[in-house]
Symmetry: C2
Subunit: 456 residues, 2 copies
């Protein structure tokens, strides 16, 4: 029996654990499911003969070490900030590690020791980061292998609500951490390169500089730029590329309306509001508007942000109860962002039978024998319900597949890794197809970076 | 002979040192002028028999202590961040200290020891902070003394170019640290209270929420809100006030045009631009606009920010050479804010004979015996040239006057002080009148916070 320690039995662990359970008998696996809440762990274990559920506090060093000691391999599904303690123990105790999170500086700093001990610390092998790296590198390597030179790489991902559960004016619900959605784009200008020219978008214009995407021939989406599109130039071997852009996908019209919150200052998380607990939603909105006692909050907002009375943006704000004088904020010492999050959660929380959707879209432009080509590649995955979400599927399955392949020595390059090498992405992507996670690839005329598609 | 050590012989020391020189014989003063540049110190000393000029590096602890030891009182005109070293020595060596800077947390932390030693550490006694505190507290105390209850306090200050030297479309030149002007308003939402309602303005809307002011009956100005208008509620005894607002004065139209820089992202100081030294001013502007090779930078900017072709804002941008393809940025690893500062300094640097102007304006609303009253109080001071500026006069004279009064025991309350008590503001304001720094006060009908004056 090989013992897989899965730390974190939260939202994203359903498919991950089911995959391991299904392979348990054949592969001789025991799965220890560890969570702060033993009930959550037990729910995931569900009395499976090859599973045990334990209570696990990542800050209880003694117990943490004891459980990692017993494991053959460790999967950490904890929030990114907590991986480092687990990683240190894995290094010390000689255990391989898998996470779906971005490689932190602390994790990166362990690289030499991880290599010296011949260990595999596989990171960024969820959906984004994860499937994006793998599916992009597969196409990029194919282009290079036939002698092509990469000119353009654009990559877009979005966690959305599935069409059949899409029943609000924003065409959006929270399919992941709401706080991250409220704070998205903050912390510095978005940076990318288009046809050799660097471009910078400040946060307060980010949602007005969206690009349009058509996926699978007819579905239209929009995307706003990620903070640092240039981050993986080195890892992808694209140091000289002319155009590189990464974005987040939303339904058309979301960003223009979201911009209202930014313009008002409602997404600010840097200060607390006086007397926040006693404010109504309407009072909260009025905090960001001029004092003018003879005008309504509605008219002040419309006039301030120049919203026409027949603009659907207006209905989006009304739908959220932003002008409701009776609903109370009821949060003490809250920041504007915390209050906005609460208001949005009233409207955008998924119900048990609601289905989510993951959409990913890449564009690859390249030159081969003097001619220019373009490939577009898309993946759409739908969730089943609030346990078996598309998010849990696309995050959990690559983690699970990689874990088993590392355990079986099929992935054996040591180091602190991302899944950018063929040894990793080829078998993982192949197996993901069995679960319906598959990219549709098509050749299109080379467009280069297309200004027609820019909104604003 | 009493020895006054003046540390810092920069821009703001001309009037300060002249004042002390003029009193030197009668008051038995020796003035030691200390600066990193001994030439600057000598220039200010100008061979006056009661002056000596020395080279002084605030980080040379031994020399710093030696010079402070020799002084009867110390005046620090250093940048605010450097006062603390001087203050520690003053505390240790038992010397009184005067600065024109905001009280830092480190300075505040010395309060108990300063009191225990019976010392006077007088701070915030320049113009803003300084004359604003004194002139406001004089009126507030008068209102209270006759039994009035304060309802409203608004206070505005601006460093501007004098009308006769005002020859650009922005009606603005740099009369003080240009970097502070470029970064003004950053670091958090502006916060104030109007008729009992808290209001918050995010940075990217700050320059679109200006207020208009009419000063001396006919001159019209605008003002944008300072970061924290509520800062002095406690010091002024205005904890329960309904309206409190502090702002920075500009000529009408400045803020609307400045907003263009903010919208583009040109005032951002948080990241550096790739390859900044080789960019032209036009390239720099284009960094913040969409890629669209068939459109001009001009048209892209106009369309992006919806600037009509006959809007004077457009001419303001052209006047700054923002679209010039030949002028080079020539700054390595520069932030957008650093580049913008350079571009602005090309146009907004004062010439030797240019005159500056300080404008200050307060509004006081109060209730007395069931009736409401309002007082407005204004001060305008003009500079003579680039040595004898209005800024140097309004900063330096209160510092100099306070220094002599502390030296002569006329101000003798010990502690880390601001000039909010009558013992201090009364004689200082009285003496400032002799130099033409005087407030014009008038009763106006009580308006309260007047929404008519809000732009946007």
């Amino acid at each position: 029996m090989r013992n897989i320690l899965v730390i974190g039995a939260g939202k994203s662990s359903s498919y991950l654990i089911d995959y391991l359970k299904n392979k348990a008998a054949e592969q001789q696996l025991h799965i220890t499911i560890a969570d702060v809440s033993v009930e959550s762990a037990q729910k995931r274990a569900d009395n499976h003969p090859n599973c045990s559920a334990i209570s696990f506090d990542v800050f209880d060093a003694e117990n943490r070490k004891k459980e990692i000691e017993k494991a053959t391999i460790v999967v950490s599904m904890l929030p990114a900030a907590f991986h480092v303690e687990v990683a240190k123990d894995c290094l010390h105790l000689g255990k391989n590690l898998v996470t779906a999170s971005y490689i932190s500086d602390e994790m990166k700093a362990m690289e030499d020791e991880v290599k010296a001990k011949g260990l595999v610390f596989m990171n960024e092998i969820g959906v984004d980061p994860g499937i994006d790296h793998m599916s992009a590198m597969q196409v990029i390597d194919q282009i290079r292998n036939k002698g092509g030179k990469m000119l353009l790489f654009e990559s877009f991902t979005g966690g959305l609500v599935a069409p059949e559960s899409d029943d609000n004016l924003w065409n959006y619900k929270f399919t992941w951490n709401p706080r991250n959605v409220v704070l998205a784009g903050q912390g510095g200008a978005a940076k990318f390169i288009q046809e050799g020219t660097y471009k910078y978008i400040p946060y307060h214009r980010l949602f007005r500089r969206t690009e349009f995407l058509t996926i699978n021939g007819n579905e239209r989406f929009e995307a706003y730029a990620n903070r640092d599109s240039l981050k993986y130039r080195k890892e992808y071997g694209l140091e000289d590329i002319k155009t590189m852009y990464r974005g987040t996908i939303r339904r058309v019209g979301f960003s223009r309306a979201w911009n209202i919150f930014i313009q008002l200052g409602m997404t600010d998380d840097s200060y607390t509001i006086e007397n926040s607990e006693n404010l109504s939603y309407r009072d909260f909105t009025n905090l960001f508007l001029a004092y003018s006692p003879n005008d309504s909050v509605e008219l002040k907002l419309r006039s301030y942000l120049k919203i026409d009375q027949d603009d659907v943006m207006w209905d989006k704000l009304v739908e959220l109860d932003l002008f409701n004088p009776n609903k109370k904020v009821s949060l003490k010492k809250a920041t504007p962002a915390q209050i906005l999050q609460k208001i949005l959660m009233d409207s955008w929380t998924l119900q048990e039978e609601d289905k989510d959707m993951i959409v990913m879209h890449h564009k690859f432009g390249y030159e081969l024998a003097g001619k220019k080509y373009q490939i577009e590649s898309s993946m759409v995955t739908l969730g089943k319900n609030q346990t078996y979400t598309a998010m849990a599927k696309t995050v959990g399955l690559p983690v699970a597949i990689a874990t088993l392949k590392i355990l079986n020595g099929e992935i054996n390059t040591s180091g602190v890794l991302l899944p950018t090498s063929k040894e990793i992405y080829e078998p993982v992507l192949e197996e993901l197809k069995e679960y319906g996670i598959e990219f549709v690839e098509k050749e299109v005329p080379y467009l280069g970076y297309n200004p027609e598609h820019v909104n604003g």
